[in-house]
Every structure is written in C-alpha cells, then in structure tokens.
C-alpha cells in the first residue's frame, strides 16, 4: 500500500508540473541567497581578522558557499526536468536518472539541516577565538612601529568607536597594560620613572583609556586620564559616572554582532531547507504520476502519484535487506576467492 496516494488526471498533472517548476526557480533564488550570505559572512570575518589573531575559522562560510552553489545546480536541473515532464519524449530522457537524483536531493536536504545547526553551534569556538584575539590586540596597541602590527592601534580604535565598546570585558582592561609606546615617554622625568619602577614588569601603567573609548553622548568633555582619581577633576565621581566612556566590553559587543549574523543565517538556511523538501516531494509526485499512467500511449489517462511505493516500515526493511545483501555479496566473493586459492 503506497504512502499518501493522490489521483491525477491530465489537467492536474500539468498544474503540478507547472507549480513545481515555478517552485524550483524560487529555490534557485534561495540557493543564490545562501551563496551570498556565505560570501557576506566571509567578508565580515576577513574585515576583522586582525582582532581575531588571523586565526578565525572560515569553515562555516565556506560550507555555506558550497551549499549555495550545489543548491543552484540541483534546483536548475530539477526545474528543467519539470519543464520537460509534460513532453513524453523529453521526459523519457530524464526518467532513468530521476530515482538517483531524488535520493541525492534527500541527502542534500539532510546536509542543509546540518549546516543550519552548525550556524547556531559555531558561536562557541568563535567566542574563544575572539577573547584571545582581543587580548592580544590590546597588548599590541602600542606597537605602531613593529611591522605586521603597525595598524593594530587604528583597527582597535575604529572598532571601539564603531561598536561602542571599551576594552575586553570593560574599560579597566586598559589599566593593566602599557598602551603608550616607549617612544613617547620621557624617561628622564621623575613621574615616568616612578610609574615604571612601581610594578614588577617595568611597564608604564596608568588609570587612563584611549580616546576611542569616549562616549560622545556624555554631557561633559571626555575624561580619559586619571579616571579613578576623583580629585583630579571638578565635580567627578568615578563610581557614579556612567556616560563618560563606553561601559560595554568589546568581546560582548563583537560576539553579539557576529552571533546575530549567525543566528539570522541559520534561520534563513532552515527556511531554504523547508523549500527544498517541498520541491523534492513535488518532483517525486511528478515522477510517480507520470510512471503509473493507466494507458502509456494516451496522455489524457488517469494516474496515481505517491510519496513512497510501500509504507514507511516496509521501505525501511527493504533498505536494510538491500544493505545486508550487499554485505553478504562482498563476503561470498571473498569466500569464493579463498576457496579457489586453497584448491589451486
């Protein structure tokens, strides 16, 4: 007993073929969408790879690009098959390939689901790459004369301005590293010598932040130096001051930005998967309705379309039996060869 049987006459078959053809072209557009989403994500990662230690994994965007290209190809082919399905001579050309094509489509749909899951899961390793990269970024902020790192300051400043964040977790991260290059420190000044002598690593640490941490919405001009010293500024209390510098950490800001991109892409890939499943089902119906014509010569005869030839359980047992037969076939071949070897 076939699964989900539907009766078809000529008009219904024509309508089905046209609808599925239309859906296939829609699915080609969806494939292009997936491709461009992959490209967009790749570019976004490349733009800020300096902040991720040039170590970020491009696995996800590459997979998206590949899936987009395959989707375009499969759907264009499926559309062509649907277009030709109304002409018996043309359809006879495609008929032998259809079964394998449909199995391939199902495999592709499963891969799409896996890709969507990846989009949601890859956030976690990304978090670690980002934390490590930002920590190093801040360490190398002052090295504007070291080849390979001379643009770190500019990149970090522009990022803090664009994402409205300061430091890794918060602005106090800047207090723990020396972010002023030694070239601009007067080592003959007493104050400088005191500061450097006051810590084990000999670094010039201060309770100040770079200008890119400043919040333009603050009603008073930005206080970036001597931030924890209330008496250094008039009418200033660093415990209650909220608008002076950005309070958010850059790791949070970047993670929520990229996390948002990945979630959106994951949701869109799920929608595309649903569309692909629909067109696969449609093509199966087109194929079966044309194969079960009551009178193969008469195009106007009735036919039946179904999803599976037998019920789900029977189809499953069939597949298992086929796999076992394939396994036994291989064993018999080996046994036969050994028998021949011992005899000779």
């Amino acid at each position: 007993m076939a699964l989900l049987v539907v009766k078809f006459d000529l008009k219904k078959r024509v309508k089905l073929a046209q609808t599925v053809w239309f859906m296939y072209w829609f699915a080609v557009l969806a494939g292009i969408l997936v491709l461009s989403l992959g490209l967009f994500f790749k570019i976004e990662l490349r733009k800020r790879s300096e902040l991720m230690d040039n170590n970020e994994s491009h696995f996800l965007p590459n997979v998206l690009i590949a899936m987009g290209l395959i989707a375009c190809g499969i759907n264009a082919f499926g559309g062509k098959v649907c277009y030709d399905s109304l002409d018996p001579t043309k359809f006879a050309k495609w008929k032998p390939m259809l079964k394998t094509f449909l199995v391939f489509c199902m495999g592709f749909n499963a891969l799409l689901v896996v890709t969507a899951l990846l989009c949601f899961v890859m956030r976690i390793p990304f978090q670690f790459t980002l934390a490590e990269g930002l920590k190093n970024g801040m360490k190398f902020y002052k090295d504007t004369d070291t080849p390979g790192r001379c643009y770190m300051k500019r990149t970090l400043d522009l990022m803090q301005i664009e994402f409205r964040c300061c430091g890794n977790d918060n602005y106090r991260d800047w207090f723990e590293i020396q972010w002023v290059s030694n070239r601009y420190l007067d080592f003959s000044a007493k104050e400088v010598k005191d500061r450097i002598g006051s810590n084990v690593d000999g670094q010039y640490l201060m309770d100040g932040v770079p200008f890119s941490c400043c919040n333009p919405s603050s009603p008073r001009p930005c206080i970036q130096y001597q931030m924890t010293n209330n008496s250094a500024h008039y009418s200033y209390d660093h415990y209650t001051e909220e608008l002076n510098v950005w309070r958010r950490g850059c790791r949070d800001a970047l993670l929520s930005y990229y996390g948002g991109i990945m979630n959106t892409i994951g949701a869109l890939v799920l929608l595309v998967t649903m569309l692909e499943v629909a067109v696969t089902v449609g093509l199966q119906y087109v194929d079966t309705s044309l194969s079960t014509l009551a009178n193969p010569e008469d195009m106007e005869s009735e036919s039946e379309g179904f999803l599976l030839e037998k019920t789900v359980k029977e189809t499953f047992t069939d597949i298992m039996a086929k796999m076992k037969a394939m396994g036994k076939g291989a064993k018999v071949e080996e046994g036969g060869e050994e028998g021949v070897a011992t005899v000779s």
């Binding site: 601009y184 890119s212 400043c214 919405s217 009418s235």
Partner: protein
C-alpha cells in the same frame, strides 16, 4: 515638407510599437529611481539638519519626489498607448488624447531641465547654510543642559568622527570658543580664574580640541590638550605633527559629501531627460505612422511617420503667428467692449 520623415510598413510599425513599449516601462523604472533618490536625499538632509541650523532648503528633494511620481504616471500611460496602438479600435479611442499627452511630456522634460539646473545651483545654498550652521554648532557644543541644544555635542562629535574633520575651517576654530560647560569648571581655582579673566568676554578659552578630532591613524596616543605647547608633551612639535588630529575642516568635508550626492543626482536626471525625449519622439513617429495609412481598412499598407508636419522654421513661424493672433483676439475683444460702453 515633413521634418525627418520615415517610411513604415506593418512590420516596422509593430517593431516600433513594441520597442517603444519596452522603453516606456524602462522609463517607469527610471521614475521610481528618481523618486527613491529624492527620498534618500531628503533623509540625508534631515539627518544632519542640526548642523545646518534646521534651516536647509528641501526644494530639490521635494521636486525630485514630485518628478519621480509624475514620471511613473506619464510613462505608464505612454506604455499603455503604445500597447493599444496596434489595435485600430483601441487606437481610435486614444487618438484625441495623443496631442495633449505629448505636450504634457514636453512640459515634463522642461521641468527635468529645471531640476537639473537646480541640482547644480542649490549647492551654493547648501554651502552657505553649512557654514552658518557649523559655526553655531561649535558655539552651542557646551550647552548640553539647554533644551533644544542638548544633543548638539553628540551630533557634532559624531559628525567629526564620521567625516574625519575638525572644526569649521580647521582645528583652530575650537581655540576661539569655550567648549567646556561652566558646570564642569572649578571657578575657585586660580588657573581657571586667570583664563576666564584673560579675555574680554570672560570665556574659558584654551588651545585644546574635543576627543572627536583625534585621528585613529596616529602612531601615538591622541594629544588633544595644550596643542600649541611643544614642551607640554615629549618629542612633540605642533608645526610638523600631521597625523595627531584631523586636519580637514568639517565645512569642506560635509559639503563635498552633499555636493557628490547632488552631482550624481544631476547626472542621472540628464540621462532620464534624454530617455524621455527619445520616448516622445518615438511616440510622435508611431502616431503619425498610424494616422497616414494610405488605406485605413488594410493594416498592411505603407505609411509615413515624421517628427514635425512642416519644416522646423515653418513650425516655429506658425507658433509665433498663433501666439500673435491670440494676443490680437484679446485686443479686438477689449476694443469691441469699449465702443459698447461708449455707445450706451
């Protein structure tokens, strides 16, 4: 002798009508683009109306929106005309509307030319508004507690960061205004009192700039205070230092942005002018070709299409004489009216 006449047979007429129909639909898309350009320009002006004293002229974007809508309507009607022109019944219904429609299109073209001229001329107005607005913005930078001006600081900071500029003409404009609110000045401090008393207006002036003037591309942390005092900073010469703060003035920067937008819009208007002119010429050829059919019952007969019925000079002389008779008719009426009055 008709001006620029061409011979037409049925095939040529059909081809002309089809080609013209496509051109008209292209012109509808051009109209939609003009409409969206108008909206984009209006939004851009609104975004920065605060630094233009809320005084900027919205003439050009409003006209663009109007022209875009008109263009859509006119060209859609023209497309319908072309579509119906191949059916003699429908065409005879449309025939009386043709002449006023073509005159309307010519008027619309004149409007396009006017808009083109405005796009290039209004740039002067934008420049002057910008100069005045920025001067006031710098003056009101500190008034973050005055209703109506409390966001001026944020707007100006974001403008300087986004357009990479400082001050009106250059960074020295900041030396001439007090940009720190008196709320954050310790009036009991001697240094503050000296500065305030040192100038006629009692303003707290200093050789410093806000943080938004800082250039992230500078290799050293930003120097915003004591800019002209070389001894206040280690290894610093304000005459040779180039990368520390943005050297461009905001008037120049913002003006070149708007000027770029207006020039691009002007170029696009010029293109659409030529397109509409081409459409009107094509429609004239089509209508004359359909009117001068040798045998109205036989659609396959030859016909002639032209641009003007008489030569160019003769048409001009005709128009002038029409205008004169119109004027004389008015005078005759007045003359006729006054003898009546005199007689009674």
């Amino acid at each position: 002798m008709p001006f620029l006449s061409l011979k037409f047979n049925l095939q040529k007429r059909v081809k002309l009508a089809q080609g013209l129909w496509m051109l008209y639909w292209l012109a509808v898309i051009v109209g939609i683009i003009l409409f969206s350009l108008g909206i984009f320009f209006k939004v851009e002006l609104r975004k920065r109306s605060e630094i233009m004293d809320n005084n900027e002229s919205h003439l050009v974007p409003n006209l663009l929106i109007l022209v875009g809508l008109l263009s859509c309507g006119l060209n859609a009607f023209g497309g319908k005309l072309c579509h119906d022109s191949l059916d003699p019944q429908k065409f005879s219904r449309m025939k009386p509307m043709l002449r006023p429609y073509m005159l309307l299109c010519c008027g619309f073209n004149a409007l396009l030319l006017l808009l083109l001229l405005l796009c290039f001329l209004m740039q002067f107005a934008v420049y002057l508004t910008l100069a005045e607005g920025l001067k006031n913005a710098i003056r009101f930078y500190k008034d973050t507690d005055t209703p109506g001006r409390c966001f001026m600081k944020r707007t100006l900071d974001m403008t300087q960061i986004e357009f990479r500029c400082c001050g009106n003409n250059n960074f020295r404009d900041w030396f001439e205004v007090q940009w720190i609110s008196s709320r954050y000045l310790d009036m009991s401090n001697d240094v503050v009192k000296d500065r305030v008393l040192s100038n006629v207006e009692g303003k707290y002036l200093m050789d410093s700039v806000p943080f938004s003037c800082c250039n992230p591309g500078s290799p050293r942390p930003c120097i915003q205070h004591h800019l002209t005092n070389n001894s206040a900073h280690y290894d610093y010469d304000h005459r040779t230092e180039e990368l520390n703060i943005w050297s461009r003035g905001c008037r120049q920067a913002v003006f070149s942005y708007y000027s770029g937008i207006m020039n691009s819009i002007g170029t696009f208007i010029l293109n659409s002018y030529f397109e509409v002119a081409g459409d009107v010429a094509g429609l004239k050829y089509l209508s004359t070709a359909l009117e001068t059919m040798a045998d109205p019952e036989n659609p396959e007969c030859e016909s002639e299409g032209w641009l003007l019925e008489k030569g160019f000079k003769e048409t001009l002389a005709d128009l002038l004489s029409k205008v004169k008779t119109f004027g004389r008719a008015n005078q005759v009426e007045e003359g006729g009216a006054s003898p009546d009055v005199a007689a009674t």
